[in-house]
Symmetry: C2
Subunit: 281 residues, 2 copies
């Protein structure tokens, strides 16, 4: 009797457990604890993201530049192979619940389908609701294809366009996630010292905010660390212990520190500034 | 006058260049040189693939196991989130020209769309035509989700299903590409010494072929190397030089050597054997 009742109850229980996990899941990865995040947890997430960015660049460097993948005339449907693939994959990922979090920002947000499982943007309460609108993906798309890609790929064309643009998309997503995590950085810094930021926000003073958010020594350390990661992760590993001095790196480690110096850190601060300007609205 | 003629000729020239590059592209990455590949070039490609596999596992380990992503009832459309995503992405990648090469084998080959740009499977002449049919993806799919995944992910559910299954797909593709590259290994070994393999092929002797393809010392070295790669690539890199002894690995390096020992190398040999059995057909 009890067993029959339990059996009848089981599907409902499972459904509730799924729903609970699904909703609790919408908290940002390893940043949230008891619905709060701290500067330390945000920093840890940013440092972990460095590894993802370095891995993704090394994987993209398996292929040469492959210009036809970026030619809007190649497919004959109005999109480059890269744009066609990114639009298609973003649509697919949106259907299974991506782009619900402030750091996951699509490159082509128009006409994205709704997720198939019912979701609720529970994590957005962690940040000021206006934050969702902050995006610098247009700038990321532009610097990635026109400036960064030629720096770490060889010239040439091996025709592996599908693998190439799939790798591009992984790079773009990792870089974008790192940069848009600036929303959390800004929120933590504001919450810790609203008196420091509020006057500049009220007077719409972008330069002052940029000043407040810039720590040269920290930025130098980040550049050194990502360069070190690129050196370690892109070396050719052999079992010969005497081999390590003469390795050929799969990507030039200086390109990664340059990426952080010229684009990742400046654009992260743009995200922080834009977030703060909306913070009192 | 000459300028006008050149201008008229330009679009045609560009189109021809693209077509030339597209066709030449269909050669396997860094394996083919003058339409030939050697055991050295195949081995180099396999060693490079190890890095991709290690990176992909480290990236998947950012998320816990996330059971609901593999529940066929969760989406309500008959597919698990993982299968829905892999089917959708394979379809998208097929449209832009993937799955033309013997080592790129889809997990769901039925009803894959044709590529949008016209292609010609020029690289298949490098291998025996029957090779295209050899696939062990069903076995890969099974061991990956049921046996491997629980070994290198933490228990639990953070709800990041879209990111989780996107990472799964990168792992699956890297592992599958490594294993199906066994087709090149088999072809090179056969071409180098047909007299060694032909009798076993003619008598359909799988065990004998497996013996001929097994080199214990080489396999031990591979296991050691991938473990070393996992240690190097999954360490927590800091600028503190004294920190390296106390790192916490993002994945257990022993899981990677286990993956190679239990699945990657045996299944590669299955691919080699199946390829050879078709080699004289």
């Amino acid at each position: 009797m009890l067993e029959t009742k339990l059996k009848a109850f089981l599907p409902l229980l499972i459904q509730h457990l799924f729903l609970y996990h699904y909703l609790s899941s919408l908290l940002p990865i390893s940043m949230a604890c008891n619905n709060k995040f701290t500067l330390d947890s945000v920093r840890d997430a940013l440092i972990r993201e460095e590894d993802s960015i370095v891995f993704s660049l090394i994987e993209r460097a398996r292929f040469p530049y492959n210009a036809p993948a970026y030619d809007p005339l190649f497919l004959g449907n109005g999109f480059s192979i890269a744009e066609f693939y990114v639009r298609g994959t973003e649509s697919l990922q949106a259907k299974i619940g991506r782009y619900q979090k402030p750091e996951d920002v699509p490159f082509f947000p128009k006409d994205l389908p709704s997720p198939l499982p019912p979701t609720k943007d529970s994590q957005k309460v962690l940040l000021h609701p206006a934050s969702a609108s902050v995006t610098v993906n247009e700038a990321i798309w532009k610097f990635y294809f026109t400036e960064l890609l030629p720096l770490f790929t060889t010239k040439g064309n091996d025709g592996n366009y599908a693998s190439t643009v799939a790798s591009d998309f992984v790079c773009l997503q990792a870089i974008s996630r790192r940069i848009h995590s600036g929303k959390y950085v800004a929120e933590v810094k504001f919450t810790d010292a609203p008196q420091d930021y509020s006057p500049a926000i009220s007077s719409n003073d972008r330069d002052k905010l940029m000043d407040l958010l810039t720590f040269v020594a920290v930025e130098e350390a980040v550049k050194k660390r990502v360069e070190k990661k690129a050196r370690l992760f892109s070396q050719n590993v052999t079992l010969d212990e005497n081999d390590s001095g003469k390795t050929q790196y799969k990507i030039n480690p200086l390109v990664v520190s340059h990426l952080y110096d010229k684009w990742v850190m400046p654009l992260t601060k743009v995200v922080e500034v834009e977030y703060l300007l909306l913070r009192l609205s």
